[in-house]
């Protein structure tokens, strides 16, 4: 791997090696650009992944505490952990469950479709589904998404059999083993799925797509990628012309370095990306880099989620096999007669025994609580994934109370649930309960809202520089050589798990960057 000079201003600096940054690294290096990829976490591998959940959690998770405020669940139940995402080479693609649905056309037109929702900052995306369709095709082929482009669907595991039988009894029609970025057969040099059930601890066969082994090594093979792991960006600098020209970062020893850059792609996720922009304030950008709109950090969304557990009197063995092994898509529509706008997916989920009581079950203790765990063999589970309303004051700011090891403020997350979110979750959990009761569940429990695993919206795209941070290509309105290449560009969240859309947008953004470079526009 080359080691580019800190003074080489022909390199592109990418911050973050996850779905956005890792894919962008491959896209830019194959186009002939030199890339310095800064990743705050360490480089693990399929060999070092651990299938002891506690160990894996410590190994892969962004553990630096943050501060929180607001009425949403984790602000009270997990005060220093508003979000569960990764800090490792490959980013959150290391622990994701590979769920890869597309956004629906109406979800990209949330404001036009849902109307004005008081207390929400709805807006239409500056791109429509027709524009994105080609890139979704490309992303699905890139990720080998099951059930698309000739990739077989995954087989049904026990947990999904329970969902399927109950869903059909209720009259649901769009019930299947999910669109998953998992190899059902060996492909692209990666193994096939052997149904281990430790997707969330890092896939030890490499069957699950992750930039760690599906994008970054390919970028390295060009000879143009300089991956600097355990290096966290702390500031982006700009010149008098307002263009970014360097990224300051700290390495593993804490030493500070300044890497010159031709242009910068920020892909730290929708919490760390706005944090970095806010920390990069200057005389010219007094509210934070590229933040003339004051929208950096605002409109933070994370999907409305909640667990549903069915307790049966016969074994399910739900931990065997793919963690997110199926879905009901019927409710991914806009039908205000249900009492809310936007829709949701009901996604099969399981939790290993050590994690279940910590994250999956509602607060409790004593005999009734213990009886649920006594039935661990007989549990089936699902997770709601629904559209939450963006709100101007649901936002990431710099914490006034918590600092990182370098004395920099960490992120503060403020999140108040909207009444639409509450109504959506109540409907979804009630429907999930009916699914399990239809096939004989003797008890159904609703688990708490866990820390957010999807982060979106905090540098939203808009045609209007007063309404959004980035344009329709994820390019900062105010800084032409600064791009956001992660979920922070999502104008609204829709109900789809975000990774496929992040990859589609990055593939499109890389194509745009190439054209801009050729036209000498950046």
């Amino acid at each position: 791997m080359p080691s580019f000079s800190l003074d080489d201003d022909s390199v592109v600096v990418i911050v973050g090696s996850g779905a956005g940054g890792g894919t962008m690294a491959r896209e830019l290096t194959r186009r002939g650009l030199k890339v310095v990829l800064l990743e705050a976490g360490r480089r693990e591998s399929t060999e070092t992944f651990s299938q002891h959940p506690g160990t894996a959690f410590g190994q892969l998770t962004w553990l630096e505490p943050r501060s929180q405020s607001g009425t949403w669940g984790p602000a009270m139940t997990q005060p220093s952990l508003p979000a569960w995402h990764c800090r490792t080479v490959g980013g959150t693609t290391v622990h994701w469950t590979a769920c890869s649905p597309r956004l629906q056309a109406y979800e990209l037109r949330a404001r036009s479709t849902y109307g004005a929702v008081p207390g929400a900052s709805l807006a239409d995306w500056p791109i429509d589904y027709a524009e994105l369709e080609h890139w979704y095709d490309a992303a699905e082929k890139r990720l080998n998404v099951s059930g698309t482009h000739g990739n077989p669907a995954m087989p049904a595991n026990n947990n999904f059999k329970v969902m399927y039988a109950g869903a059909k009894k209720l009259g649901y029609k769009q019930v299947h083993t999910s669109r998953l970025a998992i190899n059902s057969r060996p492909k692209d040099g990666r193994g096939m799925c052997i149904q281990q059930g430790f997707c969330v601890q890092g896939c030890k066969t490499g069957a699950k797509w992750s930039t760690l082994y599906a994008e970054i090594p390919q970028a390295e093979a060009t000879g143009r990628l300089d991956l600097r792991a355990s290096c966290i960006a702390t500031r982006i600098e700009h010149g008098a012309d307002g263009r970014v020209n360097a990224v300051i970062y700290r390495d593993e020893s804490g030493a500070e370095h300044r890497q010159k850059a031709r242009f910068v792609c920020v892909a730290g996720n929708a919490i760390e990306t706005p944090r970095l922009l806010l920390m990069s304030e200057s005389a010219r950008f007094a509210k934070g880099l590229a933040n003339g709109s004051d929208q950096v950090g605002r409109n933070y969304t994370h999907h409305m989620t909640g667990f549903i557990w069915g307790v049966f009197d016969k074994p399910v063995h739900s931990w065997r096999g793919i963690t997110q092994s199926g879905v009901i898509d019927d409710e991914n529509i806009n039908d205000p007669k249900r009492g809310f706008v936007g829709g949701y997916h009901l996604e099969v989920v399981t939790l290993d025994l050590p994690t279940l009581p910590l994250v999956g079950l509602p607060y409790g203790w004593g005999r009734e609580y213990a009886s649920v765990i006594d039935n661990y063999r007989n549990l089936a589970g699902m997770l709601v994934n629904g559209e939450d309303m963006p709100r101007s004051d649901n936002r990431i700011t710099l914490s006034k109370t918590v600092k990182d090891g370098f004395g920099n403020p960490t992120a503060h997350v403020n999140c108040d649930e909207h009444t639409n979110d509450i109504a959506l979750r109540a409907h979804a959990q009630a429907q999930g309960k009916k699914v399990y009761e239809a096939v004989g569940a003797k008890q159904v429990l609703f688990g708490p809202t866990p820390p957010a695993t999807h982060q979106m919206g905090t540098a939203r795209m808009s045609h209007d520089p007063a309404e959004g941070v980035t344009n329709a290509h994820g390019q900062a309105h105010e800084v032409p050589n600064l791009f956001m290449s992660d979920g922070s560009v999502f104008t609204t969240p829709g109900a789809a798990n975000p990774t496929l859309t992040i990859v589609a947008l990055v593939l499109r953004q890389a194509d745009y960057i190439e054209r801009q470079l050729k036209a000498r526009a950046i």
Binding site: M154, N157, K161, Y164, H176, S184, Q195, F198, R320, G321
Partner: protein
């Protein structure tokens, strides 16, 4: 008058309460029984007296009552709490005070009484700390996994492709319209 060395040690231990110990005998089918001669085990405490350790064990069992779960699993939790308490004399005092607050006779009272006494302290940091450690540790050891049927790591065993990932037969099979083929057939 002289005392034997043993008497002096025991009296110091009695005064400082630092040689508490939990003991038990593993169930015959315990996964650990191969490693424990005679199946008898003892866990020494660094912060708690035997009396307090027994109260703690009983508190943990009241928080998470699983009939038939080998007490060795609960001992893992007690050990973890004791270790944390040994880290500072403040922590040790807080834990001892908390255990005293639920009554020195806690472990011999019936379940309804024990639950009632814990409800009375449910809002305290003491109770919430013990509850959290119980959830963190009780379900994360081989004794518990064997009891609850959790099968642990799967990679070294080839995953579940041929070990029952789809062996549920009390519901119909999923048709081909909704799922893909089983790669192994």
């Amino acid at each position: 008058m002289t005392h034997s060395n043993n008497d002096a040690v025991n009296r110091r231990a009695f005064i400082h309460g630092a040689t508490g110990v939990l003991t038990g005998v593993l169930g015959a089918l315990s996964p650990l029984s191969a490693f424990v001669p005679g199946r008898a085990w003892a866990v020494s405490m660094d912060a708690l007296s035997t009396q307090d350790a027994e109260t703690l064990m009983s508190m943990i069992r009241t928080i998470a009552p699983h009939d038939g779960l080998d007490p060795a699993a609960y001992a893992y939790v007690a050990k973890a709490i004791d270790k944390e308490a040994a880290a500072s004399s403040d922590a040790k005092t807080r834990l001892a005070d908390g255990l005293r607050s639920i009554g020195a006779d806690f472990s011999i009272r019936d379940e309804a009484t024990r639950v009632q006494r814990l409800r009375a302290v449910e809002q305290t940091a003491f109770f919430q700390g013990v509850r959290f450690k119980t959830l963190l540790v009780l379900y994360d050891n081989p004794v518990s996994w064997a009891h609850f049927g959790y099968e642990g790591e799967a990679f070294s065993k080839g995953g579940y492709l041929q070990r029952g990932f789809n062996d549920l037969h009390w519901l119909p099979e999923v048709p081909a319209s909704a799922a893909g083929p089983n790669p192994v057939g």
